[in-house]
C-alpha cells in the first residue's frame, strides 16, 4: 500500500508540471499586451515599459516560466490588479467559506443520495424505484442557479426562514449547500442503485437470505458494504464537481467564497487572481483524485495487490 501511494504521488508530478505550464501560458494567450493591461489604459509608453520590466515580461518565455514556478513554490502568487493586495491573502480570506459550503453540500448529498439509491435498488421496478430514479435524473438536469433562486424565493422571500445570501449564521449554509449538493446527491443515488443491484445478485447474498437473515440485515450489513466501494470512489470524484459548481452557487447566494472571487476577477480581468485560482482548483482536484485512488486501493484488495 505504501509503495502504491508513493507511486501515485510521484505520478501526479508530471500532470502538475504540465498544468503549471498551461496556466502560465494562460496569461500569454490573452489577446493584447499584459503589461498594458496591468499598467492601465491611460498609462504612458514609459510606464508600460516599466511594468513590463517589473513583471519580467521582457525576459525569454522559458526564464519567465521558471521564475513563475519559483514564486509559486514560495507562495508568491502575485498582486491583485483590482485590490492591489497579495493574491495569496485574497484567496486565504475566501477559502474557508467555500470549504465549509463544499463539506455541507457533500453531507446532504451522501445522506440523500445513499438513501434514495438503497430504496431504489431494494424496491426495483416498483413505484419507489421509479420515483427515486426520476428524482435523480431530474437532479442531474436541474440548473443549480435556478434551483437556488427558487429556494430563495420560497424559503427566504415568502417564508422568511433563511437569509437570502451572504454568511450571517449557520442558517446561511442551508440553502446554498442544498442547492450545490442536489446534483451530487442525484449522481450518488444512481450509482448506489446500480452498484447495490449488482451485489444483490451475488451468491453470498442468496446464502444470507437462505439462512434466514432479515432483509434489512442483508441489505445494510452485507450488501451495502461491498456496494460502497465504487460509490465511495464516485463520491470522492464528485468533490471536484462541487468545487466547479460552487462558482455558480456562490454567485446566486452572494457567498464570499472562491467561486465568486473568480467570477469577479473574470469580469474585472484580474489575471493574477484568475491564474492563481485556476491553479488552486486544479491542485485541489488532482489531490482529491489521488486521495480517492489511494482509498480505493485500501478498500479493494484486488487493486492493492496488483
Amino acid at each position: 500500500m505504501f509503495h502504491y501511494t508513493i507511486k501515485r504521488l510521484l505520478g501526479i508530478i508530471p500532470t502538475l508540471f504540465i498544468v503549471s505550464i498551461f496556466i502560465f501560458m494562460f496569461v500569454h494567450m490573452i489577446p493584447g499586451d499584459p503589461a498594458r493591461l496591468v499598467a492601465g489604459p491611460d498609462a504612458s509608453y514609459k510606464d508600460v515599459e516599466l511594468v513590463r520590466q517589473e513583471l519580467g515580461l521582457d525576459q525569454p518565455k522559458v526564464k519567465q516560466y521558471f521564475v513563475y514556478l519559483g514564486k509559486i513554490l514560495q507562495g508568491d502568487l502575485g498582486t491583485s490588479m483590482k485590490t492591489k493586495r497579495p493574491v495569496f491573502d485574497e484567496i486565504a480570506d475566501r477559502f474557508m467559506p467555500t470549504f465549509w459550503l463544499t463539506i455541507w453540500s457533500m453531507v446532504w448529498a451522501i445522506v440523500f443520495g445513499l438513501l434514495i439509491g438503497v430504496i431504489s435498488a431494494t424496491k426495483r421496478n416498483k413505484w419507489q424505484d421509479y420515483t427515486g430514479m426520476f428524482g435523480a435524473v431530474s437532479g442531474i438536469s436541474l440548473p443549480s442557479f435556478w434551483l437556488g433562486l427558487m429556494l430563495i424565493q420560497l424559503f427566504s422571500v415568502k417564508l422568511g426562514w433563511f437569509p437570502t445570501g451572504g454568511i450571517e449564521s449557520w442558517k446561511s449554509y442551508i440553502l446554498p449547500s442544498v442547492t450545490l449538493g442536489a446534483g451530487v446527491a442525484a449522481v450518488i443515488a444512481r450509482f448506489t442503485r446500480s452498484s447495490l443491484m449488482d451485489i444483490l445478485r451475488e451468491d453470498y447474498i442468496r446464502t444470507g437470505r437462505a439462512k434466514g437473515l432479515k432483509e434489512n440485515v442483508v441489505v445494510w450489513n452485507h450488501a451495502l458494504k461491498n456496494a460502497m466501494i465504487p460509490v465511495i470512489t464516485m463520491t470522492g470524484l464528485q468533490f471536484g464537481f462541487l468545487l466547479g459548481g460552487s462558482i455558480v452557487v456562490e454567485t446566486v447566494f452572494s457567498w464570499p467564497g472562491l467561486g465568486r472571487l473568480l467570477i469577479d476577477s473574470v469580469s474585472f480581468r484580474d489575471y493574477p487572481v484568475i491564474q492563481a485560482e485556476m491553479l488552486l482548483f486544479a491542485l485541489e482536484f488532482i489531490l482529491i483524485n489521488l486521495i480517492v485512488d489511494v482509498l480505493y486501493g485500501m478498500m479493494n484488495p484486488q487493486i492493492r495487490y496488483k
Binding site: M29, P31, I140, F145, W146, F241, L243, G244
Partner: protein
C-alpha cells in the same frame, strides 16, 4: 440475428424467414420499449420544430420593448408574463430554444469530432502519441466543472460564440477517453487483425473498421453530453460570460430576472423551467439510448 443476417424460424416443419433484423432494427426494438425515452425523443423533436419556426410562431417580438406591460404576471395575453422591458417571456423562450439547441449541438459536435479523432489515434497507435494525448487530456481534466470553460472565456472574452468554443474544448477529453478505451479493445479483435493481415492501411482500419464499432458509445455519450452542454452554456450566460442582453438566451434571461425575485418571480421561473425540461429530455433520451445500445443490458 446480428449484422443484418436473417433469422430463420422453424414453424410447422417449414423454414420461413420471419424477420430480417439489422442492427438498427434490433436497436429500435429495444428502444421503443422504453416509454420515457420515447417521450423524451418526441419532445426533443418538438423542440427542434419550435427552434426552426421560432419567429413565425412566437406571439410577440422577442426583443421589442413594451413599456406599458412591464413585469406583468402570466395571463391569457402573456402566457409566461413579461419582463422588466415589457417583452413577452413566452415569445423569448420560444426564440431562445434555437440558441440553446444551437449551442448544445454545435459544441458537442466539435467535442465529438475532435475527441473521437484523438481517441482513435491514441488507442490505435499507442506509444508516445498515446502518452502525449492522454497527458493533455489529464491536464484538461484537472480543471473541475465549468472552471476550464470560464478560463477559456477569460482569454477569449464573453459572448455566445466563445461559449461554444469553451464548452466544446471542455468536452474533448471525455470523448477522447471513451473512444480510446473502445479502440483499445476493438483493435485486438480478429476482424481488425485480418484486415491488417490483408494489408489494409492504418487509416482504413481506423476509419472503416474500428470507428463504426465505437459509434454506439459515441452516440450515447453525444446525447448525454448535449444536456450538460446546454446547462454549462446557460450557467456561463447566467454568470454574465455568455450571451449578452437583449439576447433571449435562457440563462441570460434568468440572470436578468434576479433583481425582481421579490416582485416578479415568473421572470426567473419560466426560463429556468425551460432549461430544466430540455436538459431532462436529453438526459432521459441518453439513458434510453444507453440501455438500448449497451451490450451488457442486452436481453
Amino acid at each position: 440475428m446480428k449484422n443484418g443476417t436473417v433469422d430463420l424460424h422453424i414453424k410447422d416443419g417449414r423454414q420461413e424467414a420471419e424477420k430480417v433484423r439489422t442492427p438498427f432494427l434490433e436497436f429500435w426494438r429495444k428502444f421503443k420499449k422504453q416509454r420515457i425515452a420515447m417521450i423524451a425523443a418526441f419532445f426533443i423533436g418538438f423542440l427542434f420544430i419550435v427552434a426552426l419556426l421560432g419567429p413565425f410562431i412566437a406571439p410577440y417580438s422577442a426583443v421589442e420593448p413594451d413599456y406599458e406591460n412591464i413585469l406583468s404576471s402570466p395571463s391569457m395575453q402573456h402566457l409566461a408574463g413579461t419582463d422588466a422591458f415589457g417583452r413577452d417571456i413566452f415569445s423569448r423562450i420560444i426564440e431562445g430554444t434555437r440558441i440553446s439547441l444551437f449551442v448544445g449541438l454545435s459544441s458537442v459536435f466539435f467535442s465529438a469530432v475532435l475527441g473521437t479523432i484523438l481517441g482513435l489515434v491514441s488507442g490505435y497507435y499507442g506509444g508516445w502519441l498515446d502518452n502525449m494525448i492522454m497527458r493533455i487530456c489529464d491536464v484538461l481534466f484537472a480543471f473541475p466543472g465549468i472552471l476550464l470553460a470560464i478560463g477559456i472565456i477569460a482569454i477569449l472574452g464573453p459572448g455566445l460564440g466563445n461559449v461554444v468554443i469553451a464548452v466544446a474544448i471542455f468536452g474533448i477529453p471525455t470523448f477522447a477517453r471513451i473512444v480510446r478505451s473502445s479502440t483499445l479493445s476493438i483493435k485486438e479483435t480478429l476482424y481488425v487483425e485480418s484486415a491488417r493481415s490483408v494489408g489494409a492501411s492504418a487509416k482504413r482500419i481506423i476509419f472503416k473498421h474500428i470507428f463504426p464499432s465505437t459509434l454506439s458509445s459515441i452516440i450515447v455519450y453525444f446525447t448525454m453530453r448535449i444536456g450538460t452542454a446546454i446547462l454549462t452554456a446557460a450557467s456561463l450566460s447566467f454568470l454574465g460570460l455568455g450571451a449578452q442582453p437583449p439576447s433571449p438566451e435562457w440563462g441570460a434571461m434568468l440572470s436578468a430576472g434576479r433583481d425582481f425575485l421579490n416582485t416578479a418571480p415568473h421572470v426567473t421561473f419560466f426560463p429556468g423551467l425551460s432549461i430544466f425540461i430540455t436538459v431532462l429530455a436529453f438526459n432521459l433520451l441518453g439513458d434510453g439510448l444507453r440501455d438500448a445500445l449497451d451490450p451488457k443490458m442486452k436481453d
